[in-house]
Symmetry: C2
Subunit: 325 residues, 2 copies
């Protein structure tokens, strides 16, 4: 048996026993959009469940607020509690993946040899909801192979933040005094996705003002909240020294309990699955169209449209019929 | 009959008689993704043909090379020849459209009252091949309503340039001494899409060197060329004074003749129709999925995936079956 063709059930059971290389190989199948992905997802499905599984924690915030440092500190905190931790670092703008980005993540290096920690940098893939889809499938791998906590950290800004939040059970929005302050974050729409706020670099001037601004905006109802009522707590940290991190872990545990009890977790997970299914369906339909290009169908339709014998909507109807028959 | 509901056949015949407001209304239907778009395209189809129609000319080049000025000078040149000219200015990054961008296009203002010239700024739309699709449909409107030449100018860079080139019968790549030189353009991949090169601002230092660099690269075969052989000519212009523009018009006419005779024009137009059909089909399939969201189907599938009863690929199969039955 070659490495590439190692049976998936064996890889999965190795991964569930804590073999990091097996986990990495499974995630690579996701990243490479392997033809074996369908079989993999079929095997993983029964291993997940709506109520159990990992707590998926998204970390978002402007560049410079200390996301990597905070992620590293959270990994340490969860490890002290005996939890198995996965980290997915997503860079939507990068074509590179597979760990190259991690060289400069100093705080991560201390976990590099810890078998209870799995760290992976992922690039986004393709254009049809690539980020959500590949990340959702990587989450599925980590959950089904027994990770207790998965941290998703994004290098990007803007849309990527919101997309990551849509994948998480609990989203941490990081701010730092003077760097991407609360009002800017409000404008960027990232306050609305927060379940827990962290004001990092709390030893800097202006930290208390940032906290006050945040609480002011929360009292104005700018955060999404939820029916049944979760008010995002505001934690102060100095992640580089590990200060305040235990409070963040506590806040996340409380949010996790609230989300499970209120149905929020289940609703988010169903929404996540819905987007994943749609992305897969569109990608498969596009692939079928590409196959039709190999055959004469699409060329015939295109020639008809180019020559004015057919209008493009009638051609699209015929293409859809061809793809789906 | 309200303005909005004016019968399409009337609008089309007004547009063919040179009524600029009718042309503008038809293009607005494209931009707004009107529900009447299907009917419009059905009515327009028989008015186009593979051999006849407008020469569609794409203009690409780095910011600062003088694209708007050159476009304006080309419009004047074609008007002197009695041609009816359409201009589509595409800004893929802008959510605004409908002419707002044109305020600062000084060279265009002299054509604002000329009924033989139609100028429109378009924003790109949506994500599924939005730029190509809306632009392809706007081209269809202009061709079917009797324009002889359509100039497509893009404000964007990179991918947008290549996309615009894929819509055009003839693509002009603009360079200027010291601004986006030939080697940078080669790196960006835009040399390969050139049918005609224009070195604008030819009175500046370095113009001759830019021409030499370009010809050197052409002799190395860096331009795509085509079997049957078209070597892109290199024209020097000072567009702000109209100098060298007649040579560009001549080069474009020669390319147009070559493209028609060699089959290149037909191949490009079929490829353009193929992308348009695919984009419409994907958009329609996505719309059908959204309808399923209103009903219970997609939520049921998503719940199944979230709970581990279904894998996402099996769910996608069911979604596709639901969408296409």
């Amino acid at each position: 048996v070659t490495r590439r063709d190692e049976p998936l059930p064996d890889l999965i059971s190795d991964a569930r026993e804590g073999n990091a290389r097996a986990v990495a190989r499974l995630i690579s199948l996701v990243e490479d959009a392997s033809p074996r992905l369908r079989e993999l997802m079929e095997l993983l499905a029964p291993l997940g469940s709506l109520s159990g599984g990992a707590q998926v924690i998204g970390l978002t915030g402007a560049p410079g607020v200390g996301k990597s440092t905070t992620t590293g500190a959270l990994v340490s905190a969860y490890r002290r509690r005996g939890q198995r931790v996965g980290v997915l670092a997503i860079d939507p703008s990068s074509p590179f993946s597979g760990g190259a980005l991690l060289g400069d993540r100093v705080r991560m290096q201390e976990h590099a040899t810890d078998p209870g920690v799995f760290i992976r940098s992922m690039a986004s893939r393709g254009q049809l909801g690539g980020l959500s889809w590949a990340t959702a499938q990587a989450l599925r791998v980590l959950e089904a192979t027994g990770f207790d906590v998965v941290l998703i950290e994004t290098v990007g800004v803007g849309q990527a933040e919101v997309e990551i939040a849509s994948l998480a059970d609990s989203t941490v929005v990081l701010l730092a005094p003077g760097m991407g302050d609360a009002i800017q974050a409000a404008k960027a729409g990232i306050l609305e996705v927060a379940d827990v706020f962290v004001v990092n670099k709390a030893d800097r001037d202006g930290a208390d003002q940032t906290v006050r601004e945040l609480k002011g905006m929360l009292s104005l109802g700018i955060s999404a909240g939820a029916p049944g009522g979760w008010t995002p707590p505001v934690c102060k940290t100095i992640a580089a020294r590990g200060e305040g991190i235990d409070e963040v872990v506590t806040a996340l545990a409380q949010h996790g309990e609230w989300a499970a009890a209120s149905g929020s977790r289940e609703r988010r997970r169903i929404a996540r699955a819905r987007r994943e299914i749609e992305a897969i369906a569109l990608t498969q339909l596009r692939a079928r169209m590409d196959e039709l290009r190999g055959r004469a169908t699409l060329d015939t339709l295109a020639t008809g449209v180019a020559s004015g014998e057919l209008d493009p909507y009638a051609a699209s109807d015929q293409l859809i019929a061809g793809v789906t028959s």
